[in-house]
Structures are given as structure tokens and as C-alpha cells.
Amino acid sequence: MKIKWPNRHSPFVTEACVPTRSAEADITLDVAQLHDEYAEFVWRNLQRLGVRPSELEDALQDVFMVVHRRLDSFDGSSKVSTWLFGISLRVASAYRKRAFLKHEQGSLEFYEAVDENPLSDPEEQAQRREAELQLQESLESMALERRAVFVMFELEGLPSSAIADILGIPQGTVHSRLHKARLEFTESIARQDTTRKVGGVP
């Protein structure tokens, strides 16, 4: 399935909407080309949205299958990356629901999948691991849109303008989401501390 990109007849298409590679007139895109170009972008965003490492490849596949089905409905009124992020968001949401229904512990799997440095101090390793799990738990408690903004800004250090560009939203919305995400994060940490105290963990 192929589309003509950019759609010159659309009043919403401006030069800013068109990806750099598509500055040439009427480049025909198909799903394989989009995959070549945006696979890394989707891959990163799926992680930001909390898809577990073991499911990343499947989720990536799912995103591009949706792209394949919806390609002719994409009119170029937004950036391809924004469109892809929207699809990634829905796919990640489906994975999250599925994991929830299966009572899967994504955070545990995530960090067990990554090798620890065997040379570091075991106690330090344990503390780090615990902090990682708590971070993951806090992120899991956030809505996906806010989680993505929080991860991009706080953990990856992307400027809010770049985040706004990726998500296709105004910078003010990024700030608003970040503010709410920070509140949720802090509340989550407070809950974790309370639970730890009640449970008798030092």
C-alpha cells in the first residue's frame, strides 16, 4: 500500500510538516520505507511508553502493521513522527492492558533482562536494583502520555521543544503534562515509602 507524500493539495500541509527526506516533491512512501526510516524512533518511544524488552520487537511489528493498514488514511496533515507516536501510544496501551490482565510484573522482567555489572559491589547492586524497580513502578502508575513526556524530559534530557515536536503538541502542553507527571511521580514515591515503612523494610 502506498501513499503520495506530501499531499500538496491539503491546506494543512506546510513545509514544516514535511520530513526532511520528503522535501523532494511527491515521494511515494510505503510501509517498508517508513520502517527503514522510523523503526528506531518507534523502538525508542515504545520503551518510553513502558513496553517490556521481551515484547519490543512484537510491538514494533504491531505498530508497522497498523501503519500498513492506515497508510492511505494518513493525509499528511501532521508529521509522520507524530502519527507514528500516536500509533505507538495505542499499541503500548494495548500491551500494558494485556500485561495487567495477565498480572505480569513488567518492571521485574525489565531489570532482570539487563545484565548487572559483575564487578560492582553486591550491596550497591542491590540498592541500584531496588531504585530501578521503584522508578519503574512509579512510571507504571502514570498515564502513558505523561509517562512519555516525563521519560523524555527527565531521563533522556530532551528539551521540551523537541518533545513537543515529537508528540505534535504545543510546548505549553508538554510543560503541563510534565508538571502533572512530576506530581504523580512524587506521590508514587511517597506511597512506596509508606508501604515500605508499614511492611517493616528499613
Binding site: M1, V31, A32, H35, D36, A39, E40, W43, R44, Q47, R48, P53, L56, E57, L60, Q61, F64, M65, H68, Y111, V114, R128, A131, E132, Q134, L135, S138, F153, E154, L155, E156, G157, P159, S160, S161, Q171, G172, H175, L178, R182, F185, T186, I189, D193
Partner: protein, 237 residues
Amino acid sequence: MTDMQRWLDSEQVQEDVLRRLKAARPLLPLDPITKARSRRRLVVMTAVPVAASLMFWIKSVALGAVLGSAVTVAIVVPKWQQILRPNWATQAVPSASRSKVAPQSVSAPALIAPEESPVEPQTAPSIVGTAAANAPKSAPATPANSADPLGREIQLLERARRLISVDPSRALDTLHEHQSEFGNGTLVLERQFLEVEALLRLGRRDEARAHAAVLKQNAPGSLYERRLSQLLDGTGE
């Protein structure tokens, strides 16, 4: 618009928060092998709907052709069988004698679907027993039928079935002919049922009941039981 300050760069953030943020791992990169594999799978999966729809189209056409052929065979073959088969069952019966026979509430089911007039032209053989011998003159398909025992059984029973309403005694003769030719043939139960019906028509009720008892014994729980009950008692039981 001025950007917000990251928590990691701020000094006013709680230690607990910082500890967790610092524990974050970098995102996993997409390695070229995974990317190539994903692309390959994607190309295959996007090609599948086209192939699948083509396959379903071919399958549906093939299925339609097979069903069409089956229906055509089912419609045409019986008609040709009727045309080729000699008209065994039609017998010359005077209209006066036919009018004497009261219609029976339950008749034996047709072995060959279409109903034909029981009245046969005068040129047809008058003796049923010699019908087979005379048949080749009137119908060239008879040798083929006689080569097929089941076809011959069907012919005899169908002839008997048609005769029951007009001439039960000849129907009974035909049934005896069947018995002598085939004994416990494939359609023995049908013959026994027709015998019961013919005997009833002849008013030989006791004999009919005896035959019915034998048939019930031979085929307990079969559909014949119910039909026999209807014949003998006029009830559903």
C-alpha cells in the same frame, strides 16, 4: 518559551527522587539484526493479505464449481434415470377397479421420488413376473439395471409400492418376487413394510400384524416401527 529545569540538574529535589532517577537505565538501542528481521517479517505480513485474498478467491471459485457440479448431477441424473428406466410400475388397471380401492391414510414412502400414473398403456406387459424378460423390448436401459442388484431391488419395490393402492395382490406378488430374488437383500425392511401394507389392503389383518411383528423385531427402534403403528392402529405410537 523558557524550558523547565530537569530534576537531575536541580538542587531542590528530594534525595529519594534523585536516587530513583539516577538509577534509570538508558533506552535499549535497536540493533541492525532486529531491525532487519522486523523489516523482513513486515514485508511478509503485509504481503499475506494479498496472497490470502487471492487464495480465498480461488478457493471460493473452486468450491462454487464443485457445488454447482454436485447440484447439477443431483438434478440431472435422477431425471435421466427416470427417462432410461422402463416404466415397470405402471400397470394396466381398469378405472373401475381403481375406484374400488379406498385411499389409505398412510402410504409407503416413494423410493424414487416423482409420482407417476399407475395406469400403464395396454401395450405394457400384463404379467409382472415376466416384466424383466419383456423389459429390454421397451427399455434399453434394463440390462444396466439388472446388472445393478440394488437398482433391481429398487425397481421391484417401487413397482410394488405403486401397485399397492391399485392392486394389492399384484403388489404382494411383486414383493414375493423380490423376496425370491434377493431374500434378505439390502431393502428387506422396506419390502417387509410394503408387505404389511399390501396385506392390510387385502384385508388380511392378522397376517399383516404377524409381518409387522417380524419387522419390528428385525428393526427395533427404527422409523419403520412408527410407520407400522400408524398403519396398524392409526395412532402415532
